[in-house]
């Protein structure tokens, strides 16, 4: 970690140099990180990696022409070459008539996102924690024949993000994160649990292990007939679907392309009125992030409010193109598909998961999905995927038995119009669209969901 002063000093110097070389406006972004991941399978540590990286991204504006470059080097010569390249690209690009300025400075809230003990967690610390998990998974089982094996990943990271631009905008924030996921296996059953935290000490390994183990104790799985079932999607399953929903629908790029089901439907009720999906980088009930990757302050964006489509996420560039204001959702400059919301919340309901199960006379509980694909028909958000790591048949308000994994093929627009109950408790999932973004999601009880086979 370089720290605020050194990062901002470097970035300002680079912006100044870019301006002196004849650009109109310039922006420099620094993303530095230390990532460490320990992977395990069959209750044995199989891989461990540690990686340190630091990348400077340049964006220069030259008579409305933009050039973007990056280099993961702190060699001043590399950085100068990279900056020159950005200017050269801008010179050769066509002007974007609508784009006039990089973001202006903002005041950011003071939030704690960095925990030194998480940043300095060593491999020995991790091995100790995992060793306990493996031991407990063994001792919890009386019968040696029904041994439970644990697989998964334990990753921790330390990240710092700094931005400076020609409008005197400067922003800096350090982050830490810890994410533990467990897959318990006792053939033919599997179970899953995960937890994401900024502070590693909040990770409750006992709770995770018992959640995952509860799902994989049965020795037999039944096969259910394909058809439409009432379904409870636990938060990890909701997350798989939401990741695709964000990708095909909630970003300005797909909104402009017209492939998003929000296009042409703003202000219209398209989902259940029980459902509110919003993005809020400032909400401390989630994992706040003060600004986006061009330094625009985070604030709440309603995406779906009581079932009504409100707005996709914009960055400065696409907002200007659509004569809108940025919603503070710029991704890293080398991203090609965003902007996307990266701190998504589904508003919580008022039931516990057990209460939700008790409301189902005949249905299926899904822990998690595998390999969801949302490109079948984006206007109806038709998706397909397989259940994994714990799928159960519910009858008369109780979980009866585990069932074999099944393929769902369903329109999520249709499914999300049939939401009956939303859980009170929500869970955090890091988003694939930002290294510091986290989604906060409940379980959903949906009246009808199609399983093919």
């Amino acid at each position: 970690m370089l720290g605020r002063d050194r990062v901002i000093e470097l970035l300002r110097k680079l912006v100044r140099e870019a301006e002196e070389s004849g650009t109109g406006q310039a922006e420099a972004l620094y993303v530095g990180s230390h990532n460490s991941t320990t992977r395990f399978a069959n209750s044995v540590i199989t891989q461990n990696i540690k990686e340190s990286n630091g990348t400077v991204y340049f964006r220069v504006l030259l008579d409305k022409r933009i050039g973007v470059t990056s280099a993961n080097s702190l060699h001043i010569e590399d950085l100068r070459r990279c900056m020159k390249k950005a200017i050269e690209i801008a010179r050769q690009s066509k002007p974007l008539k609508f784009f006039d300025s990089l973001p202006k400075p903002s005041e950011y809230p003071n939030i704690k996102t960095h925990y030194p003990k998480t940043a300095t967690l060593t491999i020995s610390d991790k091995v100790k924690i995992l060793g306990n998990v493996f031991k407990k998974s063994k001792s919890a089982i009386q019968n040696p024949k029904s041994e439970i094996r644990v697989g998964g990943a334990f990753s921790t990271s330390e990240t710092e993000i700094g931005i400076a631009n020609s409008n005197n905008l400067t922003a800096y924030q350090p982050f830490t994160s810890a994410h533990l996921s467990l897959i318990t296996s006792s053939p033919p059953s599997l179970g899953f649990a995960n937890q994401f935290e900024r502070d590693v000490k909040n990770i409750d390994t006992d709770k995770l292990l018992s959640t995952a183990m509860k799902k994989c104790i049965a020795k037999k799985r039944d096969k259910l007939k394909p058809g439409r079932y009432k379904v409870i999607l636990e938060p990890p399953a909701v997350n798989e679907i939401l990741e695709w929903l964000i990708y095909i629908t909630f970003g300005a790029s797909v909104f402009i392309d017209g492939t998003s089901f929000m296009t042409g439907n703003i202000g219209k009720k398209i989902m259940s009125k029980k459902l509110t999906i919003y993005d809020d980088g400032g909400d401390t009930r989630g994992f706040p992030v003060p600004f986006d990757f061009e330094g625009v302050k985070k604030k709440r964006l309603d995406i779906i409010k009581n079932g009504v489509a409100i707005s996709p996420a914009y960055d400065t560039l696409l907002a200007k193109k659509c004569r809108k204001k940025t919603t503070g959702h710029a991704l890293m400059p080398d991203d090609t598909e965003g902007p996307f919301p990266t701190n998504v919340f589904i508003r919580e309901g008022d039931c516990t998961l057990d209460e939700m199960i008790s409301m189902v006379d005949r249905g299926i509980l899904v822990t998690r999905f595998h390999y969801v694909n949302g490109l079948l028909d984006t206007k109806t958000a038709s998706m397909t995927g397989m259940t994994r790591d714990g799928t159960f048949y519910i009858e008369d308000g109780e979980i009866r038995y585990p069932v074999e994994d099944m393929r769902f093929t369903a329109s999520i627009l249709d499914a999300f119009s049939k939401i009956e109950v939303i859980s009170k408790e929500r869970q955090a999932f890091p988003t694939p669209y930002s290294i510091v973004g986290v989604n906060i999601l409940p379980a959903l009880l949906i009246k009808e969901f199609s399983f093919s086979d």
Partner: protein, 498 residues
């Protein structure tokens, strides 16, 4: 704040010293990869540049095997002090894991077979260096193709045409404690366009030369020229408009012919990933999952007699080609499926040792910061006989399915569903009309056992994707597939209604 650069040459010297240092630490094995990757890409929309980027990504990774456990550390900082810090870090990881007794010791993991030392230098062919062509000229094919619909009334339902182009040049230097020193330089070039036609709620997409950003192949700008993108775009635009008016693909159990690029993805998902030996051993269970194939599956019939599948890292221009893999094993062509029988897994030095074999050189990392994993190189369906016309003529009634739209498969690589951009109805051996939103599904061995014809050499092409994901943190890597159209019997076909 900034650092004094070491030249690449002097940093390689530092890495050679680091190998000596690691040997002195008593490690059983260590390797170092230094990679420098330069890439330039662009996204265009309707004849205008949307995003253009240029990226330099450099760093080195050190992997050690010590006391039966692995450690890996990597850094982007090319200094002598950092090289030592990273080496120490990798060793201390291995020590910690093995000392605590939760490492791979005792279960056979954490051991590798020996490789002979190799000194080798290789540059993959690149006839026209894309990086020296001025941007305007370089982008001409996709700027032209994506503007062809503008200002034409008959194309008003063409909402957008997107184009994509990306070039990568990677220098890799590999050193290990066995005395190997391998330098490889690889050029990767790719491009494609996507036509989006919209009529009310109906969105239809047609892509060329393939979906999901096009086709990637090793080589230079010549790969883009040979795609003939602007020449093919008018046909693709017409097909997208035809799809808006087309009927839905009828559901039922049917004979299907898959176009070459869809065969490529079918091989990728249902065979390529299934034959990765680390999956068989449960090492990927936390994310990617396992496979239906076990050690006992060798020799069993998983496809029909006409199906021959090879892994060939030596094909010129394959997106996944190399001479030595990322643990210094020489690449070789191997049979994966021979006359329908499964004969070989893709293996690494560790997984091969565990199975009492030698690695077949199938290991790569997607850059300096990642550990090498078992990855497909170029996994090919070997050609059969006849052209696509022959396959259609002999099909009776059926459907020709072209260009992937969606893909999904379970953790064991058995239960799959694919959606494609366009279907063509075949009646009595002739194509009659286009069909929209087709999907087909099946179970891997049943499906491949129903394959009754593969087209000949004249239809065989090399396809390639740039973003096959595996591992945690996820590693995206370029993979090639040689494939030709193929015919399958009794396949479940359906449609997605909008």
């Amino acid at each position: 704040m900034t650092y004094t650069p070491l030249t690449k040459h002097s940093f390689i010297n530092v890495l050679e010293h680091t190998i000596t240092y690691l040997k002195r630490q008593g490690v059983s094995y260590a390797d170092i990869r230094l990679e420098e990757c330069v890439s330039e890409g662009v996204m265009v929309r309707d004849g205008e540049i949307d995003r253009l980027w240029d990226k330099l990504d450099t760093g080195f990774g050190i992997r050690v095997l010590h006391k039966g456990a692995w450690g890996f550390a990597a850094s982007s900082l090319l200094t002598e002090t950092e090289a030592k810090r990273v080496a120490d870090d990798a060793v201390s990881q291995a020590k910690a894991i093995s000392q605590m007794g939760y490492g791979a010791r005792g279960k056979g993991q954490g051991a590798i077979h020996k490789n002979p030392p190799v000194k080798f230098k290789h540059k993959s062919p690149c006839h026209i260096d894309p990086f020296i062509i001025p941007i305007e000229e370089r982008l001409y094919p996709i700027l032209k193709a994506t503007s062809l619909h503008k200002n034409y009334r008959q194309y008003k339902k063409i909402h957008t045409i997107e184009g994509f182009m990306d070039f990568k040049k990677t220098h890799k230097t590999f050193l290990n404690t066995e005395g190997s020193f391998i330098k490889q330089e690889i050029f990767l070039s790719g491009a494609g366009i996507k036509v989006i036609a919209i009529d009310g709620r109906d969105v239809q997409v047609r892509s060329f030369p393939d979906s999901h950003n096009g086709i990637f192949r090793q080589g230079g700008y010549e790969r883009i020229i040979e795609m003939d993108i602007p020449e093919n775009t008018p046909r693709i635009i017409e097909e997208a408009l035809m799809l808006l008016k087309a009927d839905y693909c009828p559901s039922g159990v049917k004979t299907i012919i898959l176009g070459g690029s869809q065969v490529a993805l079918q091989i990728h998902e249902s065979i390529g990933h299934a034959v990765e030996l680390d999956r068989t051993m449960g090492m990927e269970v936390s994310l990617a999952g396992g496979t239906f194939l076990t050690a006992d599956s060798i020799g069993t019939k998983i496809c029909s007699d006409v199906v021959n599948i090879t892994a060939d890292p030596a094909i010129e221009g394959g997106a996944g080609s190399y001479i030595y893999d990322d643990e210094g094993t020489e690449a070789k062509r191997i049979d994966i499926v021979k006359n329908g029988r499964f004969v070989n897994f893709l293996s690494s030095r560790e997984t091969a040792k565990l199975s009492g074999m030698e690695s077949n050189g199938s290991v790569r990392a997607s850059g300096w910061s990642h550990i090498p994993l078992i990855r497909m190189s170029n996994i090919n369906l070997e050609s059969g006989e006849g052209n696509l016309g022959d396959l259609i003529a002999d099909a009776g009634d059926g459907i020709l399915l072209q260009t992937n739209k969606s893909w999904s498969i379970d953790t064991l690589r058995l239960n799959f569903q694919f959606g494609v951009e366009i279907g063509w109805e075949i009646k009595r051996g002739r194509i009659t009309r286009p069909l929209k939103n087709p999907v087909y599904s099946g179970i891997t061995p049943e499906f491949w056992k129903s394959c009754n014809a593969v087209c000949g050499r004249e239809e065989w092409k090399i396809y390639g994707l740039s973003n096959c994901g595996k591992g945690d943190p996820i590693q995206n890597i370029a993979v090639g597939h040689g494939a030709a159209p193929a015919r399958f019997n009794k396949v479940k076909v359906g449609t997605v209604k909008c």
